[in-house]
Symmetry: C2
Subunit: 214 residues, 2 copies
DNA sequence: CCGAAGTTGCACACTGTTGTGCAACTTGTT
DNA sequence: AACAAGTTGCACAACAGTGTGCAACTTCGG
């Protein structure tokens, strides 16, 4: 049964336009999380009406964005690890940066709203847990701050990362600069001095800021 | 001419209710910057219709909140200074914390929207400038990070402060705890290690975290 | 080139919100 | 008690956004 090759398989338009819509949504929602469907469709070079040919509702579109982004981040997170908790935190910083737009879009538009549980609940929770664990281990090893609970420190690191992402919207940064900023900000929140953070960065520059390393 | 004592001076209701509305707006808008006028009025124990007896429009209400908050912060900022840039940054952190709700409400609801210039333009710009100056001086003195431009560092500090404010919404903190968190986060972004930051905090605990010092 | 998939442009109903008008009521002040 | 200020509850218009229906058009693919 060659059911896969139906009379009309899939039109190339559809795929391209759908991708364009998701791209446009990422870009538009990053600046205005409450942007209208119309604005998104226009940014994709389509009509509002056409958008509804791809997604049944605004919520479905955003949901797609969110779960897709979460999947990418989760996959990347699972792929790269390090035994040294400090390096591991830096590593998380890098992979977060590499999915800036996905993350940004999802946090801003989903933080409040019915989709929140969908996102923060499943796909990102393990990442947060990993961060908390890293912080606790680093503190136990004397490599991180001990003056605040690990939970709080983890959230400060996450906040620092978001601030770095915001900064990237303001002043355009290269991929390397962005990665550096996110990592330095995170390690600063962890309690390292800027020289210590810089040392970590240089010591693992190949994995933390250079491209190509799969 | 005793024009001040007109036949009907001012009714005590009016003043109290107006204050209640502003308070309610602060509280409600902190959680949902897009909260409706109805929600605000209800939180104040009044009707939507009554609110319009105090403020001509939603924008006027928010504007009042914003300018009032900005004035308070600006006044507090002008009142407390320190020659040591590091201590000065910590000082800014403290005063920001003490006006959490005002700041929070204004940033969230005004960051995007027509009032943005009103706020970020005038009253808060000097605070940002002061921060940038502090960062530059601290870096020149070898007391702060030199790996990032002062502008960027200043924004990272501001971001760290906001993250700390967010954390306070999640887990209730006492006034002192909140002040400590904001200051530690800011100094971390500045490039200090957590022990250095803690040392600064302890050395100036009287002005940075204790109450009562006018 | 022909047919179907996809898009456009319009119209429409529905919802939530803002802001106003007005009569009836309650509350503060003298 | 009496008057006015303030509030309520309702009705209303205006606006922006979402989601749908449908006919005409354009584009893709065999």
């Amino acid at each position: 049964m060659t059911a896969s090759t139906s009379p009309r398989p899939v039109r190339s338009d559809r795929v391209r336009n759908r991708a364009a819509l998701l791209d446009a949504a990422r870009g538009v929602l990053r600046r205005d999380p409450d942007a209208s469907v119309d604005a998104i469709a226009a940014a994709a070079g389509l009509t509002r009406r056409a958008l509804y040919g791809h997604f049944p509702s605004r919520e479905a579109l955003v949901g797609e964005l969110v779960t897709e982004g979460a999947r990418r981040v989760a996959a990347a997170a699972a792929a790269s690890r390090d035994d040294d908790p400090v390096v591991d935190i830096a590593l998380v910083g890098r992979l977060v940066w590499d999915d800036v737009e996905a993350i940004r879009a999802m946090t801003l538009s989903v933080v409040r709203g019915p989709l929140r549980e969908t996102l923060m609940g499943d796909p990102l929770a393990p990442l947060h847990a990993r961060l908390v664990d890293d912080v606790a281990r680093a503190a136990a090893a004397g490599a991180a701050r001990e003056d605040l609970p690990a939970e709080t420190v983890a959230r400060m690191i996450e906040g620092a990362a978001f601030t770095a992402l915001d900064e990237s919207v303001r002043t355009p940064l290269t991929r390397e600069e962005g990665r550096r900023l996110v990592i330095l900000a995170g390690l600063g929140a962890l309690g390292l001095s800027w020289r210590q953070a810089g040392a970590v960065l240089e010591a693992h520059a190949d994995r933390l800021v250079r491209d190509g390393a799969r």
